[in-house]
């Protein structure tokens, strides 16, 4: 029982943990939790891959080239982006459930720094985001339909990386919404919001097929800039600063919103 003795004089020997408490055990358990949630897995990992199979395998898409690849490759990138933002948003929005369960409060009775908690949530969301991207690319590769032009096979690695990095914007979005919305309907709301953003960003239907007014409005929606940017390496037509401005502006808005709500949350109680 020596391990259970409470030494009265070891106050000086006690120390706080490094990195604000972030560690591999916690990350592993967080990822396991996400994968245990069947709904998250279906939404983030299965649906985007299924969408690709439904919309990306058309014979005409296989033969029609766009930039350095074919239309099927273009759709693969769109669906990977959709999956990645679903995944990172769900990951971020988990804070809503954890707040409702009192878990965030419980964590404040541990050395885990509040900022470290946010970092853990972001990292977990990004791991799920990576899984979503990989799921779409693996399914696409197995189907054999998407095609990159000779000399451009590096796009198989560059485009998913762009998609994954870009989805960080939506990890911030998920956190913001997780702190803002009540738990009962946060995922329903986010599912609908992301669907609208996907249409607004031109992930499902090319923006050029929209009426003019909608085309103008679409340029202000959160997935517009990201969608253009992640397709840029494939299209090879350079980068429009409007896209960058759109993506950066939404990142700033979501991150600022998350920080604002997070500060209120930790100040409360």
């Amino acid at each position: 029982m020596s391990a259970t003795q409470v030494p009265a004089a070891d106050l000086g020997a006690r120390r706080p943990p490094g990195m604000g408490g972030i560690n591999v055990t916690v990350l592993g358990l967080e990822i396991r939790r996400l994968l245990r949630n069947r709904r998250t897995v279906i939404f983030a990992l299965v649906i985007p891959a299924v969408f690709f199979l439904l919309f990306g395998l058309n014979k005409a898409y296989a033969n029609e080239s766009v930039g350095h690849g074919n239309v099927s490759a273009f759709i693969m990138i769109s669906m990977a982006l959709y999956g990645a933002v679903l995944a990172t948003t769900s990951g971020g929005a988990m804070v809503s459930i954890e707040r409702a369960a009192g878990w965030s409060r419980q964590l404040r009775l541990t050395p885990l720094a509040p900022a470290a908690y946010i970092v853990i949530k972001m990292l977990t969301a990004m791991v799920l985001g990576a899984a979503a991207v990989i799921a779409v690319y693996v399914v696409a590769k197995i189907s054999g339909v998407p095609h990159m032009a000779p000399g451009y096979s590096y796009l198989w690695f560059v485009t998913p990386l762009c998609v994954w990095i870009g989805s960080l914007v939506f990890a911030a979005f998920g956190l913001f919404m997780g702190y803002l919305l009540p738990t009962e309907n946060v995922m329903q709301f986010l599912g609908i919001a992301l669907m609208l953003f996907a249409f607004g960003g031109g992930l499902f239907i090319p923006l050029s097929s929209y009426p003019h007014v909608l085309q103008v409005l679409a340029k202000f929606t959160p997935l517009y800039g990201l969608n253009q940017l992640v397709h840029a390496p494939l299209l090879g037509g350079g980068i429009d600063m409007v896209w960058v401005a759109n993506a950066v502006a939404w990142l700033v808005i979501f991150a600022a919103g998350a920080v604002w709500r997070f500060r209120r949350d930790t100040a409360r109680v």
Binding site: A3, A8, P17, G21, R108, P111
Partner: protein, 327 residues
């Protein structure tokens, strides 16, 4: 004034070591509500202290401040001479909260591993689960555990950093009699190893059975502080009530046998273990008239001591008979 007895045997701060908990002039206001109104409390290492009081007495608010979950509006809170948050970072303090604080989708063992990994050093998870009596359900999902099992898990999580100070906020709420007894047996066994324990409760028997020292809270103020026996003695006496215009509080306090004195306009209320001596004094040495002497049971006395004063209605006597028993 309330029937406080700051002169009752306070054992805090003995031996000159750093107090485990030190509250000085602590106030906490929530917009219009004054939840805590000037608490001074020192808890020495190794004490087992109960914060006793009804709902709304300020127990949870006080505990939240000791844990650094909220900041006092005024006054200072230190834990082992540190800011509460720092004490938590060093693994000196942990707490078992009333409800919540668990994730349904983790297993019992995963929850403990998660918590353990956040501390710089931690007890072995298996051993702690066993000590909390939940070693056999380590692989069960938290969502499938009973209320008592979840509470034992909270207790296990609190033990992980091997804290110097363990804080329990109404830890047995919602447990059946047997669960309550088992839980306290585990706590008591743990405290024998020398851990300092502070727990909040609204059960007098629970405080009396498991604490060395009871701090009685009422409306955000400490109204009594002493051993269980002292609190019971305080509660077991009688109250002498009389009309005495221009009463001198200091003189009344000096009456042999008077434990506490309250003057409300022309009415005086004296709580006394020897009410005969007080009555004799009042009738012979003062102009007191309309005298009433009330006795009370333990539970009534507790309710009267801690009961809601309904915004200072002079007709209600906190140290009096059964009038405070509306709760």
């Amino acid at each position: 004034m309330t029937p406080a007895s700051h002169d009752m045997g306070r054992v805090a701060g003995r031996g000159g070591r750093t107090a485990a908990v030190d509250l000085r002039g602590v106030h906490k206001h929530f917009s219009h509500v004054r939840a805590v109104q000037g608490i001074d409390l020192a808890i020495a290492s190794g004490e087992i202290v109960a914060l006793l009081g009804p709902n709304g007495a300020g127990k949870t608010t006080t505990i939240d401040m000791i844990l650094g979950l909220s900041q006092p509006s005024d006054g200072t809170v230190s834990v082992y001479g540190m800011h509460p948050r720092k004490a938590i970072e060093h693994g000196l303090v942990s707490a078992v909260m009333q409800t919540g604080g668990l994730l349904k989708d983790l297993t019992v063992a995963e929850t403990a591993r998660y918590t353990a990994s956040l501390f710089a050093s931690s007890q072995p998870v298996d051993e702690v689960l066993r000590r909390a009596g939940i070693g056999h359900i380590a692989d069960r999902r938290v969502g499938k555990c009973s209320g008592g099992e979840q509470q034992r898990l909270r207790f296990a999580m609190a033990l992980l950093p091997n804290p110097e100070l363990l804080i329990l906020d109404e830890p047995t709420t919602g447990m059946d009699v047997e669960g309550r007894r088992d839980f306290w047996a585990a706590i008591r066994q743990d405290a024998e190893l020398g851990r300092t324990v502070l727990f909040a409760t609204h059960y007098l028997e629970e405080a009396d059975a498991y604490a060395d020292r009871i701090v009685l809270l009422r409306q955000g103020e400490i109204v009594a502080d002493g051993t269980g026996a002292q609190i019971k003695a305080l509660a077991a006496g009688r109250t002498v009530r009389a009309t005495l215009p221009g009463a001198d509080e200091g003189e009344l306090r000096a009456i042999p046998g008077a434990d506490s004195v309250e003057v409300r306009g022309d009415t005086i209320l004296i709580h006394a273990t020897d009410s005969d001596a007080v009555a004799r004094y009042l009738l012979t040495a003062t102009q007191a008239r309309d005298m009433e002497i009330n006795t009370r049971g333990l539970e009534d006395a507790f309710i009267a001591l801690t009961g809601d004063d309904s915004a200072g209605q002079a007709s209600q006597a906190p140290a009096g008979s059964l009038q405070g028993g509306s709760r």
